[in-house]
């Protein structure tokens, strides 16, 4: 599912769609009616109820989604930018530290490999030959 902003946009579009469809469908599928009175057939129209419920539900959902956003009033651009610059500096330090550690571990690996090869040489040499 897309992020919340996109979801909100979709829901708004959905509500607009429901509104326009409600009016359109009800007008197109309406049975003939008399002036002044509401015939029984007109009152029993099911789409009316369905559309009304959907539109109300859509509006409610939009409101709930808006409430769930983690926005404080006035997210200052400058604060966030300062934070980003600081994070960049910290990341550079950590990267250098990691590079040093990697160098150390490479050297250790070399030492271990050397010892292993020495051990294997001695083992080979100490075998009795035919």
């Amino acid at each position: 599912m897309a992020d919340r902003m996109t979801q909100l946009q979709d829901m708004i579009n959905e509500m607009a769609g429901l509104m326009t469809n409600a009016i359109g469908v009800l007008q197109a599928t309406a049975p003939p009616c008399e002036f002044g009175t509401i015939s029984k057939e007109l009152a029993d129209e099911p789409n009316c109820q369905i559309f009304a419920e959907s539109i109300a539900k859509a509006a409610k959902n939009i409101e709930i989604l808006i409430d769930s956003f983690p926005i404080e009033a006035g997210n200052e651009e400058d604060e966030v930018e300062a934070k980003m610059v600081e994070n960049d500096k910290i990341q550079q330090e950590k990267v250098n530290e990691l590079l040093g550690l990697v160098g150390q571990s490479n050297r250790l690996v070399g030492v271990v490999q050397q010892k292993l090869s020495e051990i294997s040489k001695v083992q080979l040499n100490s075998r009795p030959n035919e």
């Binding site: 808006i66 926005i71 966030v80 994070n87 990267v95 001695v122 040499n125 009795p128």
Partner: protein, 274 residues
């Protein structure tokens, strides 16, 4: 044959710009003379794949540019404004339906429809305004996650280095212990029975140990290389002598000798462990 090879003037790709001719290798290499011109200024307005880009403008164009009325009061109170717009949309829809019921021809109908139109455009505009903020926040969170990942990796590496150093040290201690076990004076092996005719002889290892001890003593005196070759000769004759009954140790040391005296390095290999 490719048709492109025949006619040099026809090419599927556009030619490089005219000012590229000024950047010859000579002019670039002699940077000090400064004859290669500075690069041209980048454009801030251009057309890419049919879409116009204007880099000087605001990221989200204000609503007035599109000719739409701004309905929200304060851009910073995002949540409250959005909820108000949501409610207004429902109310406007309600009004529209009322007008349609009572007097569909009335100009109110057009008015209500335009109201609804404006409200929805405003809602979308508020969301667009928020997008750059969201983008900046995501970058910040991404940075923080990277830093955390780097931390984890460094800690992991620290552990690995620490443990491998510990294991190397432990291994070295074990090897030194074992060698100590060998070189220390062991109790004499049991004397074989007279009947078997096997005699005990001092083996190569014993000779090497004696040599090491004697070398240590003699190097203090200073006649090192002479004593080494002397010792080697002594050991060789000692091992290859044919008289006397063969012993197990004799045979083994002769085998060892075949390898070691061909390649003196293996003597060095044993002494490396000390």
């Amino acid at each position: 044959m490719l048709p492109g090879l025949a006619a040099q003037t026809v090419s599927p790709f556009p030619n490089p710009p005219e000012y590229a001719q000024q950047y010859t290798s000579d002019r670039i290499d002699n940077v000090s003379t400064g004859s290669a011109p500075l690069p041209p200024h980048p454009h801030t307005e251009f057309c890419v794949f049919g879409e116009e880009y204007r880099l000087e403008d605001d990221v989200v164009a204000p609503l007035g540019n599109a000719g739409v009325r701004e309905l929200y009061a304060n851009k910073n109170h995002w949540k409250a404004e959005m909820k108000k717009l949501n409610r207004s949309a429902i109310i406007a829809f309600f009004d529209l339906v009322e007008v349609l019921i009572r007097a569909p021809d009335h100009p109110f109908r057009e008015e209500k429809m335009n109201d609804l139109h404006t409200i929805f455009i405003n809602m979308h505009h508020l969301i667009n305004e928020f997008r750059p903020v969201q983008a900046r926040d995501s970058v910040r969170i991404l940075q923080e996650r990277q830093i955390e990942e780097l931390d984890n990796q460094s800690e992991h590496l620290h552990y690995m280095i620490f443990f491998s150093r510990k294991y190397l040290k432990d291994g070295r201690e074990v090897v030194e212990d074992q060698f100590g076990n060998i070189t220390r004076k062991l109790e004499k092996p049991p004397v074989p029975a007279e009947l078997s005719g096997v005699a005990l002889q001092d083996g190569l290892l014993h000779a090497l140990i004696e040599k090491k001890v004697k070398v240590a003593e003699e190097s203090e005196e200073g006649g090192q290389s002479e004593s080494l070759t002397q010792k080697n000769v002594h050991i060789k004759s000692f091992i290859s002598r044919e008289e006397g009954p063969p012993s197990v140790t004799h045979l083994l040391t002769r085998q060892f000798n075949d390898i070691s005296f061909k390649n003196d390095k293996s003597i060095g290999a044993i002494s490396e462990f000390s």
